[in-house]
């Protein structure tokens, strides 16, 4: 299995990472090598094996419905690249 340049571009777009044409060439080679390695998984028979998400075998903990956080807008905004009047600011979004 290899990843062609178009696929690299498509995936980069999905991941919102701008890549130059030069990078596309390099990445296509590198990602194909990685894919070839992980492709070895096809040798493994996994019929009837349940996919594993977590090694933890317990009940998921639940919290009480209480307000224990928030009320710290200045801290939430403290690292913002751009903010005004308590809002984060981003280039205009078209709906």
């Amino acid at each position: 299995m290899s990843i062609d340049k178009n696929t690299v571009k498509k995936v980069a777009r999905l991941a919102r990472i701008r890549i130059s044409d030069d990078e596309v060439d390099v990445l296509s080679g590198e990602l194909s090598k990685i894919l070839a390695m992980i492709g070895q998984l096809n040798e493994v028979k996994t019929d009837g094996v349940e996919p594993m998400t977590s090694v933890i075998e317990m009940q998921m903990p639940e919290r009480e419905d209480k307000v224990t956080d928030g009320g710290i807008p200045e801290k939430i905004l403290a690292n913002a690249p751009e903010q005004t009047a308590g809002f984060f600011v981003v280039p205009k979004v078209v709906e």
Partner: protein, 494 residues
């Protein structure tokens, strides 16, 4: 009296208690050593002011007889742990200047216990790497040098700054995180001890996530006992992490000296893989002998799916990372590169903010999760992961511990092993299986290579049974009597 920077944590705590020296003395000695070792680039941010304040507070507690578990012990904090009000970068450009408004549970636990933070330790960007050469803040240099040449060596990764700092005796201990070997492999490369506890033992709250189902915090130190002490502080249930397990943390120090008599140690044949340095295999045999001599019973075990662990890892870890790193978009924190419109801003921000390795993994992860490939890669890998986990469960029916090499090689020079990403990934071939299964694992320094570099062995234990790992680690430590020092620390000792 010994040089303060060459003490173990246990020795330092005893000295502090006896008032042989103060916490401020201890901290100043480490600050001085750090300043002299800046060329190693162990820290992204030195936090000497904080350290001095914390040390003074420790002294006040010693004066009142209220000293805590780690009071006055200077440590390095991997810059993946969010520290309130103190820049936390994950070694990435995208987080340059980011000051979290919260404290990670693990760093908070250590501060509660009196630990002194010397700085935020360098690492591979977002903990993705095995050589600490992907940091946006420069490579970390291993304090060890090989006999054959003078080339700067890598400390291993991703917790390279932490491991190098402890090995160079500029910190007494350090925090690390281990997703596929990021504590164990650098511990081996730097000739120190490091343990990745059972997944769920330490809270992940406040640790910049790489791969959530694998990430686990753990300590580095220069003895098994010191590691146990640090883990004692770091570990514990945390209601803020849904994958934190509410399982009491035993008093590791009380059992660590019990030795290995009567323990069954498994030697998995599948770890004897092609291309492993014969030196490593010999070291492994020596380790087996040491445990046997100390009274352990050696049993052969088989972990047949181990050989697919690396492949499994390189599906699951990138998949999770591609999603975990989506939040770095230049909107709410971190660096932003302004574009013509929103998507342009996203793409430019992430292109400039992430390094090559991080991008590779995000792209691989995005690919394996995307429509049409999900079952072939992601679900397949999750199924194989189950088989790997089952291997361990089966093996632990026959033994209490497993002994394997930590890494297939000793530390290599910057620039070596870099033909392609896959070659680099092979570094973690021995550490990844336990990561996939969530099992605890520790690297202990055992000997030197012919070229004068440290080599470690890996002890793997049953879930939440770090106590037994520590016992075996101390037994190996005694038998191996690993006293070699990196050149840098030798010079200081002389």
């Amino acid at each position: 009296m010994k040089n303060l920077t060459s003490l173990t944590i246990k020795e330092a705590l005893a000295g502090l208690k006896k008032k042989d020296f103060s916490a401020v003395d201890l901290t100043e000695a480490h600050i001085k050593a750090t300043e002299a070792a800046r060329h190693l680039n162990c820290y992204i941010l030195e936090t000497f002011d904080i350290a001095r304040k914390q040390a003074a507070a420790s002294d006040a507690r010693y004066a009142k007889g209220e000293a805590r578990l780690l009071d006055g012990i200077p440590i390095a904090m991997k810059d993946l742990f969010c520290t309130e009000g103190v820049q936390t970068t994950a070694a990435s450009n995208i987080l340059k200047g980011f000051k979290p408004p919260y404290e990670s549970t693990v760093s908070g636990n250590m501060f509660r216990d009196g630990a002194v933070m010397l700085g935020k330790a360098n690492l591979d960007e977002f903990a993705m790497g095995s050589a600490n050469i992907t940091s946006a803040y420069g490579n970390v240099i291993n304090p060890w040098k090989r006999k054959s040449d003078d080339k700067p060596l890598v400390p291993g990764g991703s917790s390279g700054g932490s491991a190098a700092a402890v090995a160079a005796r500029i910190a007494m201990g350090a925090t690390g995180t281990d997703t596929g070997g990021s504590i164990r492999q650098p511990a081996s490369f730097c000739g120190i001890s490091g343990i990745k506890p059972t997944y769920g033992r330490c809270s992940r709250f406040g640790i910049v996530a790489f791969a959530s189902s694998l990430d686990q915090a753990g300590p580095f130190a220069r003895s098994a006992e010191d590691c146990a002490l640090l883990l004692q502080s770091m570990a514990g249930y945390d209601s803020k992490d849904s994958t934190s397990v509410n399982c009491p943390v035993p008093d590791y120090a009380s059992t660590i000296a019990q030795g290995v008599k009567g323990l069954k140690v498994g030697v998995p044949k599948e770890y004897r893989i092609d291309g492993t340095n014969p030196e490593i295999l010999k070291l492994w045999e020596r380790g087996v002998e040491m445990l046997k001599d100390a009274g352990a019973e050696i049993v052969d075990v088989s972990l047949p799916y181990t050989k697919y662990a690396l492949q499994t890892y390189y599906v699951i870890a990138p998949a999770e990372c591609s999603s975990n790193l989506a939040r770095y978009d230049g909107v709410r924190f971190g660096q932003r590169v302004e574009g013509d419109n929103l998507i342009d801003t996203y793409e430019k921000t992430r292109a400039a903010g992430f390094g090559k390795e991080v991008k590779r993994r995000i792209l691989i992860g995005t690919y394996v999760l995307s429509a049409g490939y999900y079952d072939a890669y992601y679900n397949k890998a999750r199924r194989v992961r189950k088989l790997i986990w089952q291997d361990f469960i089966e093996a632990y029916k026959k033994c209490d511990l497993l002994l394997t090499p930590t890494a297939p090689t000793a530390a290599f020079a910057i620039g070596e092993n870099m033909q392609d990403p896959v070659t680099m990934y092979l570094n973690d071939v021995f550490t990844i299986p336990a990561s996939m299964a969530g099992m605890p694992g520790m690297s202990v320094p055992v000997g030197l290579s012919a070229d004068g570099l440290p080599l470690g062995l890996q002890l793997l234990g049953k879930p939440f049974d770090e106590a037994t790992i520590f016992r075996a680690a101390q037994a190996i430590e005694k038998a191996a009597n690993f006293t070699a020092l990196p050149q840098l620390a030798q010079a200081r000792a002389a």
